[in-house]
Amino acid sequence: MIEILSTGPLCSVQDAGRRGYRKLGVSVSGSMDSLAFRIGNVMLGNVANAASIEITVFPFRVRFTAKTRTAVTGAACGIFLDEKAFPPWWCFEVNPGQVLTLTPPSSGARAYLAVGGGIDVPEVLGSRSTDIKVGFGGFEGRCLRKGDRLAANFVAEGSAASGSDGFGVVPPCKGEFERESARLGNADGHAGTCARVLVGPEYDSFTGTSADQLWNADWTLTPDSNRIGYRLDGPTIDLKSPIEMLSHGIVPGVIQVPPYGKPIVMMLDGQTSGGYPKIGTVIEADLWRLAQAALGSKIRFRRVEIDEAVAASVAQEKFIQSIANSQWRAGWK
């Protein structure tokens, strides 16, 4: 069991998401930073879809009741096992009675706590993710509270080679992903998030100036952003002329522009249909970048074509597989 000793209001159990039910109006849900979520499970040798805890409010404290291994990925939060500190993106052993504390991150917004075997909550529609908006899945269909006790499919302790200090991985925001980020628009010292965007079906319905502003402006992530959608502040985006649209299916990443002209990026808990014109769609491979954007931070979009979007997804998959296939993992299975 894992006992929650301290948590903010928006920490929840998430897995890779609830897919295949959008036709019934069921949102995808799942881990906002799918890259951090997946790497956490890779570090532990878990199945790819093992449920983790998504932590958005810090400090977060849990007590373990059994020996296991755990991995903390995502935001660069402080990690303390009792008094012992670990760097971010780290996998290590925990013993019964030990308390894990995650303190506010120096960068990033969401941390993922994965445990060996995964968090054991009932599957609903094929997923253990919490649909916070509707209130089902995950742990009792809600965010975690102090005193909650989560079951986990704890696996036996790691091999002797693992040691108590464990190991870490280079965060994906560095290395080749950092160079990629520079290409996306961080080259001029922009410290915010850069995400690649495909133009949307109604892109040509916006004025030329407005369309240019989507690419040129530094958008601010407003405080009323959440797992449903990211509301951005910046220049007003105007339509050439008002258009009436029937509600239609939308996916995470779609950038809608409501009549007041400030874009909303739909995220994983977003509704499955909408009626606002769509100026673009953040590519799937860059949704994790948005997931780690802190409230108040700047976001920049760069236009890409579908070939680059597909290539980015392939590169991301290769990155995860390169960790999974590493020789190091052999000693950790």
């Binding site: 012992k84 500190a85 670990f86 120096s106 200090d165 870490g168 991985v169 925001c173 560095k174 590493s326």
Partner: protein, 143 residues
Amino acid sequence: MEIAFIAELIQHLQQSTIEEMELRGQGCALRLKAEQTRPSGGALPASKSQTLDSDKQSNKLVIRATALGFFENQHPSNEQPFVAQGSEARVGDIVGLVRQGRFFSVVRAETEGHIGSMLKQNGETVAFGDVLFELNARERSYT
């Protein structure tokens, strides 16, 4: 398996932090295990003792690399280095990382003191047992 070969292995084992090793060949298996009196951990206790003896006059202690790889004095997610010259290191404090490919292992202080000389630059290649830092021990540790 030649006796001389085994003797050489034991000699190497005594100079390392390896607790236990097993070697299997055709029709034979050899297991060597360090005596329990030797403390476990990443740094080289034997070398540390030697350092303690030889440097006792100057109160010098060292922190050594626990793996082969590239030394990193800060985590890529953080802008601040783990330690700086003159900063205090307590037992168990993280003082650096050793990167191998996409992976890190951690280097912790095994004794307390103040960081003196920093002998490896960020990104420099280090071998197992290389001295990374010299520590100036606290006076009270030796009085």
